[in-house]
C-alpha cells in the first residue's frame, strides 16, 4: 500500500499523492460557497451524508483558479474532517517501487510548500504532494513566515 500512489494533475503539473492518504476519487456535484472563508476553500459539497470541504488546489498553491472549474476531487480525511481536493485529470493509482527522493530543484513558493519529495514514474519525475499542506492553504503559510 505504501508503494501505491495516485497520479493526477494540479494546475497542469502531474503529481503523485500517497494512496494511503486518499479515501476515494469522486465527481462532486453542486458546491455551496462558504462566505468569508479563505480563497482556496471553494465551499461545501455533499458526498452521500458526508460533507466535504472543497479545496481548490490551484488557489492553495497561490495560483489563479482554473478557467474551467473541475469537478474531479480526491477525497482525503484530515483530523476527522473530510475534504475534496479539486484536481485536473486523474490518471490512476500506480505502484512505484522506488522510494521518494528529496527535491533538489528550486520550486516556486506554492509548490515548495506542498511538495514533500519526488517520485520517478516511467522515466517522468513527479512531485509528491501532501494533501494536508494543500488544505492549510497559502494564507497560513504566509502567516507562519511572518512570525
Amino acid at each position: 500500500m505504501d508503494k501505491l500512489f495516485l497520479l493526477c494533475t494540479i494546475a497542469g503539473q502531474p503529481v503523485a499523492i500517497r494512496a494511503a492518504q486518499v479515501d476515494s476519487v469522486v465527481d462532486i456535484g453542486a458546491i455551496a460557497p462558504v462566505p468569508l472563508a479563505p480563497a482556496h476553500v471553494v465551499g461545501l459539497a455533499a458526498l452521500r451524508s458526508r460533507l466535504l470541504t472543497v479545496i481548490c488546489c490551484n488557489r492553495a498553491l497561490g495560483l489563479p483558479a482554473p478557467a474551467k472549474p473541475s469537478s474531479r476531487a480526491v477525497v482525503v480525511t484530515v483530523d476527522g474532517h473530510p475534504y475534496g481536493l479539486l484536481v485536473g485529470a486523474i490518471d490512476d493509482a500506480r505502484v512505484i517501487e522506488q522510494e521518494p527522493v528529496p527535491i533538489r530543484a528550486r520550486l516556486e513558493a506554492g509548490w515548495a510548500r506542498v511538495a514533500t519529495g519526488m517520485v520517478d514514474f516511467e522515466g517522468e519525475a513527479l512531485l509528491l504532494v501532501d494533501p494536508e499542506r494543500l488544505i492549510a492553504g497559502p494564507e497560513e503559510h504566509a502567516l507562519a513566515q511572518a512570525s
Binding site: A32, V34, P35, L36, L44, S49, R50, L51, H81, P82
Partner: protein, 781 residues
C-alpha cells in the same frame, strides 16, 4: 469514574464470562494443562492491571492464586480438588468484587485471608463458604456490550445517509404519484428510518455520572489543600447526554467546582464567625429539561462581592465607573465572566490566576449553552449551566441571504419580526443601523454585509431575527427571508471553515444542499456589535467599533424657541404640565414652583405667555431641575458619541434624526449650572491647564472643570503660580515651575501599563475625583 477502572471492570467481567466454561471443565479434570493455563493467564492479567489501579484486595487475591497455580505449572504440586476449589473461590471473589466496584466508588473492604489460606490447603473446607462482602449490594448489571465509538459513528452516518435517501425517494414519489399502496409502504419505511435515527442517537448517550464520579475525589483533594471542609452532594447522576457533550463540559465544570471551593466556601474559622456550619456545602445537580440538560453548582459560601468585583473591574480599565453605576447587581456579578478578572485575594494553586470564568463561559457558549449566576452575597452562589442534550441534532431556523441558505440555532432566537411591522423603526446612524422594536433599540446587522455577500440588500421587505443574550449581546439580524424550523444534524466545521469565526457547524438538510450553521456570537463580533448597555464591554473590544453601534435612548422634543432638541432619556424623570403663573424669576434665575418647592428652570429665557407650560423634570440622582419645552416628539436611539458642540454650553452636540439636525442637551452642564452659580468665586480652588495652546484643553476640558466648581487659569496667566492643581497631558513634557500636584490625562482609554496613573481624558468622574484627591492631599501636606 476513572476510564482505566471502567476498562478494567469491563475487561475482567468479560474474561470471567468467557472463563466460566473453562473453570467448570478444569474442576472436572484438574490435570488439564490447557485449562490451567487459561486460568493462570486470567489471574496474571488481573494482578497486572490492579497494580496500576491501586486495588489491594484484587492484588492480594490474584497474586496468591497466581503463586499457587505457578507451582502446579512447574510440576512441583499436583492440582487436587482442594486447590481447584480454593482457586475457584478466589475467582468467584474477584467476580463479586468487580460487581461491587462497578456499583460503588471504591474497592470494598473485606478480609480474604481465609480464601488465600485455603490455597495452601491449610484451612478447613468449611471456611470456604462464601462470606458476604460488605459493599456487594445485590446488583444486577444492565446487560451491555462494548462497541467501538468508531462503529457508532459509522452507524450514525449510515443512518444519515438513509434519511437522505428517504428524502430523495419522497421527492421522486411526489413526481410520479404512485398510489396509496406505494405511499403506505413508503410511510412505513420512513417511520422506521426515523425510529432508527432516534435509537442510534441514543446509543451515543452516556450517563452524566461519567462526569460526576470524578468530583468527590477532586473536591476532597481541593478542600484538603485549602484547609477547608466541604460536604459534596451530587444529584441526578443518571441523566444522560451525548458523550461528546460530556467531554466538552468536563473542563468548565471542573473549573466551576474548584472556584466554588477556593473562592466561595470560606475557611472554617471564618464560617464559624459568620454563624454558618463549619463544613461548607457544595451541591452539584443535573436534570433534563426538554431538550436541554441543566447542571447546577451551588455552594453556601460567601458569594460574589459585587462591590469589590466592580472596583477591580474599574481598576483594570475593563469598565468605566459610570457604566458600573448604571448596572444592576446581577450585571455587576456577571463581571466575573470578564477576561482577566478575579476577586481572589491571593493567587492560589487552585484558581485566581485571572484566567477562568471568561474561558468557562466561552466554552459553554461554544457548544450552544448558557451560563447563569444567582448570587446571594454572604450566603452562597449558584451557577446554572444549560446545555443542549446533544451536539449532533439541533433545532434550527433556516434563513436566506444573498441567495444562500443558512441555519440559526433556535435557542438563540428571541423573536422574528418583519420590518413592515408598525412597531418597528429602522434608523441609519452613519454606517450603522439601529432597529427599534417596540421601543427597544437594537443594533441591526445585515447578514449579507457581515458575510460580504454580493448583490444589493433591499432596504425594505426584510425579516429581522432578534438574537439574544450571547455574551451580553442582543441584536437584530436582517435577512432576506425566513423559511423553516428544521431539526438539523450538525457536523463540526472543518478548520478552514471554522477559522472564519462566524460558523458553528455545517449540516446537510433534506434537500441535499450543504448548509452552514451560523455562530450567533461570532456574527455579532464580526459585525462589531457591542455588549448591551450596562453589560460588560471587555477591554479587548476595539472601542472605535463599539462606538459606532452603542446607542442611548433619547427623548426628542421641540424647545420653547422652536428648535428640535434631544436629551438622554435616563435623566428625564417625567414630563409635566404646569400653569404658566408658577414660573417666576427669582434669585437671579428662572424658577418654577412644583410640589411646594422651587426648582431651577432651564430652557426658558422670559416668563411664559401661555397659560400652560410643558416641563421635563430632570433628576441627576440628588438634584432636580425643570426644563421647559414646547412639545415631546419621540423617543429614539442615538449613538452615544455625537458630533461635539463647537463650544461648551447646555448643548453637548448634534445628531441627525430622520435627516434633520437635533441639538442634544448636556445634562452635566444643566445640573452644573444650578449648583455652581451659588458658590463664591474666590473660595474655589484654582486649576491650571498646563498647555494653553491645546484647543482640547481650552475648549473641552476647561468648561468641564469650571462646571465642577474650579477656577481655571491657563499656564502663563497671571495667577497661574498660585495653582492648587495642574492638569497636563500624559504624553507631553512635565510642566515646569509648578509646585502644585499634577493630574495627567491620556488620550486612550487603555492604561499604558503598570505605574500609569494617568486618567483617560473623557473619564469625567475619574478626572474630577483625581482633582479633588490631589487638592485635598496637597492641603493636608
Amino acid at each position: 469514574m476513572d476510564d482505566l477502572l471502567v476498562e478494567f471492570i469491563a475487561e475482567t467481567r468479560e474474561t470471567l464470562e468467557a472463563l466460566s466454561g473453562e473453570i467448570v471443565a478444569w474442576e472436572a479434570e484438574p490435570g488439564d494443562r490447557a485449562r490451567l493455563d487459561s486460568i493462570f493467564r486470567f489471574v496474571h492479567t488481573v494482578k497486572g492491571s490492579c497494580g496500576f489501579l491501586d486495588l489491594p484486595r484484587f492484588a492480594r487475591l490474584s497474586h496468591a492464586a497466581e503463586d499457587a497455580l505457578a507451582t502446579v505449572r512447574s510440576g512441583s504440586r499436583v492440582a487436587d480438588a482442594a486447590l481447584v476449589s480454593a482457586v475457584l473461590g478466589i475467582i468467584d471473589r474477584i467476580g463479586e468484587l468487580v460487581e461491587a466496584l462497578d456499583s460503588g466508588e471504591a474497592e470494598p473492604d473485606g478480609d480474604d485471608a481465609v480464601l488465600i489460606a485455603a490455597l495452601d490447603g491449610m484451612a478447613a473446607r468449611a471456611a470456604l463458604a462464601p462470606t458476604p462482602i460488605a459493599a456487594a449490594v445485590p446488583h444486577a448489571p444492565a446487560r451491555s456490550i462494548r462497541v467501538p465509538l468508531d462503529l457508532l459513528d459509522r452507524m450514525m452516518s449510515g443512518v444519515s445517509d438513509m434519511v437522505l435517501a428517504r428524502n430523495e425517494l419522497a421527492r421522486r414519489l411526489r413526481e410520479v404519484d404512485g398510489g396509496p399502496a406505494l405511499e403506505g409502504a413508503f410511510e412505513r419505511l420512513s417511520g422506521c428510518v426515523a425510529e432508527m435515527r432516534d435509537s442510534i442517537t441514543r446509543t451515543r448517550m452516556q450517563r452524566i455520572d461519567r462526569l460526576f464520579s470524578a468530583l468527590p475525589r477532586m473536591v476532597r483533594d481541593t478542600a484538603a489543600e485549602l484547609g477547608k471542609a466541604v460536604d459534596l452532594r451530587i444529584e441526578g447522576s443518571d441523566v444522560e447526554l451525548d458523550r461528546e457533550m460530556i467531554e466538552l463540559i468536563r473542563d468548565p465544570l471542573t473549573h466551576i467546582v474548584r472556584n466554588a471551593i477556593d473562592h466561595g466556601i470560606e475557611a472554617p474559622e471564618r464560617r464559624r464567625t459568620a454563624g454558618k456550619p463549619v463544613t461548607g456545602r457544595l451541591t452539584v445537580t443535573a436534570r433534563q429539561s426538554g431538550n436541554q440538560i441543566v447542571i447546577e453548582v451551588a455552594d453556601d459560601g460567601r458569594g460574589i462581592d459585587e462591590v469589590r468585583l466592580a472596583a477591580r473591574a474599574i481598576a483594570l480599565g475593563v469598565v468605566t465607573a459610570e457604566a458600573v453605576e448604571a448596572m444592576a447587581p446581577a450585571q455587576r456579578c456577571a463581571l466575573v465572566f470578564t477576561a482577566g478578572l478575579s476577586t481572589a485575594e491571593t493567587v492560589t494553586e487552585i484558581s485566581g490566576r485571572g484566567v477562568g470564568m471568561d474561558v468557562v463561559r466561552a466554552n459553554i457558549e461554544r457548544i450552544g449553552g448558557v451560563i447563569e449566576l444567582d448570587n446571594h452575597p454572604g450566603h452562597g452562589l449558584k451557577l446554572t449551566i444549560h446545555v443542549p442534550l446533544t451536539l449532533t441534532i439541533i433545532a434550527a431556523l433556516t434563513v436566506t441571504a444573498g441567495g444562500q441558505t443558512f441555519a440559526i440555532p433556535r435557542s438563540a432566537i428571541e423573536e422574528i419580526v418583519h420590518d413592515s411591522n408598525e412597531t418597528i423603526r429602522i434608523d441609519r446612524i452613519g454606517s450603522a443601523a439601529v432597529a427599534t422594536i417596540r421601543g427597544r433599540a437594537l443594533p441591526l446587522v445585515n447578514l449579507e454585509d457581515v458575510l460580504c455577500l454580493d448583490g444589493p440588500v433591499a432596504s425594505r421587505g426584510r425579516t429581522l431575527v432578534v438574537l439574544c443574550g450571547v455574551s451580553g449581546r442582543t441584536y437584530a439580524l436582517g435577512v432576506a427571508a425566513v423559511h423553516d424550523h428544521e431539526e438539523l444534524v450538525i457536523k463540526p466545521a472543518s478548520p478552514p471553515v471554522a477559522a472564519t469565526g462566524v460558523y458553528a457547524g455545517k449540516s446537510l438538510p433534506d434537500n441535499g444542499v450543504p448548509m452552514l450553521l451560523l455562530d450567533v456570537g461570532g456574527i455579532a463580533a464580526a459585525a462589531g456589535v457591542a455588549a448591551e448597555e450596562g453589560a460588560v464591554q471587555t477591554a479587548e473590544q476595539p472601542v472605535a467599533v463599539a462606538d459606532a453601534t452603542e446607542t442611548v435612548p433619547t427623548l426628542l422634543f421641540i424647545g420653547t424657541d422652536g428648535a428640535r432638541r434631544g436629551i438622554r432619556l435616563a435623566v428625564v424623570e417625567r414630563v409635566e404640565d404646569v400653569a404658566g403663573e408658577h414660573v417666576r424669576f427669582s434669585a437671579g434665575r428662572m424658577r418654577v414652583a412644583l410640589d411646594g418647592r422651587l426648582l431651577p428652570l432651564a430652557g426658558l429665557d422670559t416668563l411664559p405667555d401661555e397659560p400652560w407650560l410643558k416641563l421635563l423634570r430632570l433628576n441627576d440622582g440628588s438634584a432636580e431641575l425643570a426644563y421647559a419645552i414646547g412639545d415631546v416628539l419621540d423617543i429614539v436611539a442615538l449613538p452615544a458619541r455625537v458630533e461635539a458642540a463647537a463650544s461648551a454650553g447646555p448643548v453637548a452636540g448634534a445628531a441627525l434624526v430622520d435627516g434633520e439636525p437635533v441639538e442634544l442637551l448636556d445634562p452635566h452642564w444643566l445640573f452644573a449650572g444650578i449648583d455652581g452659580g451659588e458658590k463664591a468665586a474666590g473660595a474655589a480652588p484654582l486649576c491650571v491647564l498646563a498647555d494653553a495652546d491645546n484647543p482640547w484643553m481650552r475648549e473641552i476640558l476647561r468648561p468641564l472643570v469650571e462646571a465642577a466648581g474650579y477656577r481655571v487659569a491657563l499656564a502663563g496667566d497671571a495667577d497661574a503660580a498660585s495653582a492648587d492643581v495642574v492638569i497636563a497631558e500624559a504624553e507631553g513634557p512635565a510642566p515646569t515651575g509648578q509646585s502644585a500636584p499634577i493630574v495627567r490625562l491620556r488620550a486612550s482609554p487603555a492604561i499604558a501599563g503598570a505605574g500609569d496613573d494617568s486618567i483617560y481624558r473623557y473619564d469625567r468622574p475619574g478626572l474630577l475625583a483625581a482633582l479633588q484627591t490631589s487638592i485635598s492631599a496637597a492641603r493636608r501636606a
